[in-house]
Amino acid sequence: MEKPKNPASLTFGPTTSTLPSSLSSVADDRDEGFTGIALADSTTSRVSFTLDSSLDSVNKVELTAEQTAQRAGFDEDTATHVAMAVREAAVNAVLHGNAYDPNKHITASFETTSDALIIRVADQGPGLDPDSIPDPLAPENILRGSGRGIFLIKAFMDEVHFRQLHPGTELTLIKHRRPAQPGN
């Protein structure tokens, strides 16, 4: 069973966020596919990639999402679900957004905070109206061969936000860390 290869060959883009004052060190574990910023509490980091519009990029983004979720301490099932959601977002970006256009790129950023894992995937396509997507669970749609990607993203993540770019669409996917319940 072949898993996506380690994304060590990713084209690294700049980190996307303003660095907080608590920045204490810069980590570079490029061998494991990450170049990012590690902060003092070691639970906060950011990394972003710029990738071409290909299925290979989809696989790299998926694997990076799974590794990031695991590093952030999410359990195996949750990390798998996050990776599946991010894969769907990347597929949308490459296939429906950029339509495999070699002149267009996707960007993916991964931010781990003490509260959540925040992943953004953006394309340079014509834009997406999330309200126009039919409900795949409706009886008239249940046997359709497509149209389940956004549904799965929403099913696996705690928050999903759409932002129109000029051009393109950015999806922000958020998975919260669950605070320990009293008595657990």
Binding site: M1, M84, V91, L95, P136, I142, G145, S146, R148, L152
Partner: protein, 115 residues
């Protein structure tokens, strides 16, 4: 991504033993071609053994649905066998678990096809 299909016949039913990931690209195309080949050879009783498939994305789900409707429209039956937990959960989330005839025992699956 690699995905493999092996075909065998048992009591008039064509079993496709799938392994790997059914995802956008090669995985989806492989399953589509395999089902078309079976139909082209005159068999329309198809059992997809997913025991070695532990990952399906939305495109893969779409291919399973398309295979189901294609075989049904050809007057045949397509059933699923040996779902892994991940695939089972995915079909439940998408409300497809009740659409497909899902089996977990090959012998009883074979005997459940219309004679």
């Amino acid at each position: 991504m690699s995905m493999k299909v092996q075909t065998r016949q048992v009591d008039g039913v064509t079993i496709l033993d799938l392994s790997g990931r059914i995802t956008l690209g090669e995985g989806s195309i492989t399953i589509r071609d395999a089902v078309r080949d079976v139909l082209a050879k005159g068999s329309n009783k198809i059992l997809l053994n997913l025991a070695e498939v532990n990952y399906i994305d939305s495109s893969g789900i779409g291919e399973l649905v398309s295979a189901f409707t294609t075989v049904k429209n050809a007057g045949g039956e397509l059933k699923l066998l040996n779902l892994t937990k991940k695939v089972h959960d995915l079909l439940q989330i998408t409300k497809l678990y009740t659409v497909f005839d899902v089996k977990d025992d090959e012998a009883s699956a074979i005997s459940s096809f219309t004679k």
